[in-house]
């Protein structure tokens, strides 16, 4: 298998259940899927279908009860807590629904990227920072702080922040949930830029615009993949 054939993330028969008030609630029932590098995958489904649980497992923030999850070829279930933290730091990016949750109010756009570079073990002067700012159309906003940016610009900064490295997989939870239609496209354009860089993007969404522009749509219901 060549490097390109290796999925950025793969799930095999993943089961995850929670105990709530003494009773067991199964959130995922044997989910199997692969996320190829350089693709945008939309994860859709009604509330309670297991999207967020799947995202959390893909983000290495939790471990499955059964089954296997591999990120960039590494089996997550076998990793200790520190190993998962290291994997998160090096190979995963995150993007949250609320733009304010993705950014730190006291850092400028450039400082976000410098911090992101340092957290990933890179130099704060890495040329990737300027390259990302250019590609995502943020070069002229490098000295601005989050409150000086629009919601779409904030989400693009969050994408740039998450894309340093670059990671194997970007996990996004409702990335356009709080944006108006006019700015959704700019975020999706940014996703396309990342995909060109070889990053696999998986986004839980209710936004049809995201689903329409995704390379692949995975429909979930009752903890299972209904259609892919």
């Amino acid at each position: 298998m060549t490097l390109h054939d290796t999925p950025a993330a793969s799930c095999r028969d993943v089961v995850r259940a929670y105990r709530i008030d003494g009773s067991s609630v199964v959130a995922l029932r044997g989910v199997t899927l692969d996320l190829a590098p350089g693709t945008v995958t939309a994860l859709v489904g009604p509330s309670g279908s297991g999207k967020s649980t799947l995202l959390r497992l893909l983000a290495c923030l939790d471990r499955p009860d059964k089954g296997s999850i591999r990120i960039d070829g590494t089996e997550v279930a076998e990793l200790p807590r520190s190993g998962r933290a290291r994997l998160r730091r090096r190979r995963l990016g995150f993007m949250f629904q609320n733009p304010a949750d993705n950014l730190l109010g006291y850092l400028t756009v450039r400082e976000h990227l410098e911090l992101g570079a340092q957290l990933r073990g890179m130099s704060a002067k890495d040329p990737q920072i300027d390259d990302l700012l250019d590609r995502l159309g943020l070069a002229d906003r490098a000295g601005h702080r989050p409150h000086q940016l629009s919601g779409g610009q904030q989400q693009r900064v969050a994408i740039a922040f998450a894309a340093l490295g670059p990671p194997a997989l970007l996990v996004a939870d409702e990335p356009t949930g709080q944006l108006d239609h006019a700015t959704v496209d700019s975020v999706l354009d940014a996703f396309a830029v990342l995909a060109e860089m070889g990053v696999a993007i998986v986004a839980a969404t209710h936004d049809l615009a995201v689903a329409r522009r995704a390379d692949r749509v995975i429909q979930m219901r009752d903890g299972q993949v209904e259609a892919a």
Binding site: S52, L55, R56, A59, L61, D62, A85, R86, R88, R89, R90, F94, F96, Q97, N98, A100, D101, N102, L103, L104, G105, Y106, L107, E111, E114, L115, G116, Q118, L119, R120, A124, R145, V171, D173, E174, G177
Partner: protein
């Protein structure tokens, strides 16, 4: 015409409100400007008025309290303003290499006003406490030095007239000296008291504090000789130059080589310090004495068991009874207490501030944890964010107290007619205490803030980020 009139009515040049120049000045300059006014307005010829009768107590001039409070308040606010300005102008020029340091430094710089307030709030109680302790210690040290200058040491034991020169008991080795005191002699036409000392041992038993301004006791002793014309040192209204020392012993030609404060001026007459070998003849009016340093209560017991023919023991404790400096130092102990109260208010304010930003920092913490920042790194960033302003406040507060104590030290002398003048004591214990307290507060506040922030679980569902 109508259009021109209408334009005149509507196209008014915008009114530019230029604040008067004095409105641009920092308000704390008013506090600093008030300090010299208060100093002059509250001036008093006496530093402390001794109790003059029943019901009267010694007092300290109000300016020694008012002026430092004005300077500390104004100086701390002005220094905080300059710190904030400096951080805004220069703080962003450097990018720390580690993520935690970058976070801490950016928070410090971007919230420069809070950083400055924290530093100022730290500096004020530290400056007040340290200044209060410095004044208290200096007044006590000065007052004690004045008493010791009168009797010459902690304990002076006088032997019976005609007794042979005493040997210093072995239990007092290194802290006592034997000398002869011959009162009421004549230096030309002046009545003087003569102290015949052994230069080799005089430093062991005679009081001196090297913080006293001017030449030291060692400088004086080093000038003594016992040649044909003995070189002597005097204290009092004594002219320099050749003179003749007359008394019950044969005339002694001397040269007064220095006039400076000396211990042992008890009777109001000038004192002349003479090399013991210069006075070869002994006589009945010469009183042999032991001058001893140490705790008077213990020394009294040692002397009484030494079997010496003692006629009198004078101690520093005898003179301390009724000393006027204690009520004065109480005033400054109140200042220390006030600073503790101020410090408590600052600590409560700090904790409330940390609590108020917990929600925002918890959100940032979740983000950073997911990006791989370790809890220890976050704790370190918080510690640096709090400790740097606290340390700046500590340094500023100590500098303010040191500067004030130095500037006002002349006023710490309660009795300016009595040598050796004000001795400025550095309150090392208070400095150590406030330094430790400041560090404990910084570490404790950072730990508290981290524990509140770190309650967020990074494994929570993304959209449920608290």
């Amino acid at each position: 015409m109508a259009a021109a009139h209408a334009r005149r009515l509507t196209d008014q040049a915008p009114v530019v409100h230029r604040p008067r120049w004095w409105r641009r000045l920092p308000w704390e300059l008013a506090l600093l400007a008030a300090a010299p006014v208060a100093w002059l307005g509250l001036s008093d010829d006496v530093t402390a008025a001794p109790a003059g009768g029943a019901g009267e107590v010694a007092h300290v001039p109000a300016r020694l309290l008012v002026v430092p409070i004005l300077v500390i308040a104004g100086g701390a606010v002005l220094a905080g303003r300059l710190l904030a300005w400096r951080l805004r102008v220069r703080g962003l020029r450097r990018t720390p290499a580690r993520p935690a340091a970058l976070l801490a430094w950016r928070r410090i710089v971007r919230d420069a006003a809070t950083t400055a307030i924290l530093a100022g709030a730290t500096a004020v109680p530290i400056a007040m406490a340290t200044y209060g302790a410095s004044v208290t210690d200096s007044i006590r040290t000065t007052a004690d030095a004045e008493l010791r200058m009168v009797i010459g040491s902690d304990v002076v034991a006088s032997l019976e007239p005609g007794s042979p020169p005493p040997q210093v008991p072995s239990s007092l080795d290194g802290r006592a000296t034997a000398l002869r005191r011959i009162n009421h002699q004549s230096l030309d036409n002046l009545t003087v008291d003569v102290l015949a000392v052994d230069p080799r041992t005089v430093r062991d038993g005679v009081f001196w504090d090297d913080r006293i301004n001017g030449p030291t006791l060692t400088d004086a002793v080093d000038q003594l000789t016992a040649g044909p014309v003995a070189r002597v040192v005097a204290w009092g209204h004594v002219p320099l130059g050749p003179a003749t020392l007359r008394g019950v012993f044969e005339d002694l030609p001397v040269e007064v080589v220095d006039v400076r404060p000396l211990p042992g001026m008890r009777g109001g007459y000038p004192v002349v310090l003479v090399h013991t070998d210069a006075i070869t003849t002994d006589h009945i009016f010469a009183v042999h004495q032991l001058w001893i340093k140490g705790d008077p209560a213990e020394l009294r017991d040692d002397l009484q068991t030494a079997g010496l023919p003692l006629t009198r023991i004078d101690t520093i404790d005898d003179l301390r009874a009724g000393a006027l400096h204690e009520p004065v130092t109480f005033t400054f102990q109140y200042l220390v207490a006030l600073s503790i109260f101020t410090g408590l208010i600052a600590v409560v304010g700090l904790l409330l501030y940390l609590e108020s930003r917990t929600v925002a920092h918890r959100r940032a913490y979740v983000l950073l944890r997911r990006l791989g920042l370790r809890p220890a790194g976050h704790r370190w960033a918080l510690l640096a964010e709090l400790a740097l302003p606290v340390l700046a406040g500590l340094a500023g507060g100590l500098a303010l107290a040191h500067g004030l104590a130095n500037a006002l030290s002349d006023a710490f002398d309660l009795d300016r007619n009595q040598p050796p003048g004000a001795i400025l004591a550095t309150p090392y214990l208070m400095i150590a205490v406030v330094s430790v307290i400041a560090l404990v507060i910084a570490v404790g506040a950072a730990t508290f803030a981290h524990s509140r922030i770190a309650r967020a679980n990074p494994a929570e569902v993304l959209r449920d980020t608290p």
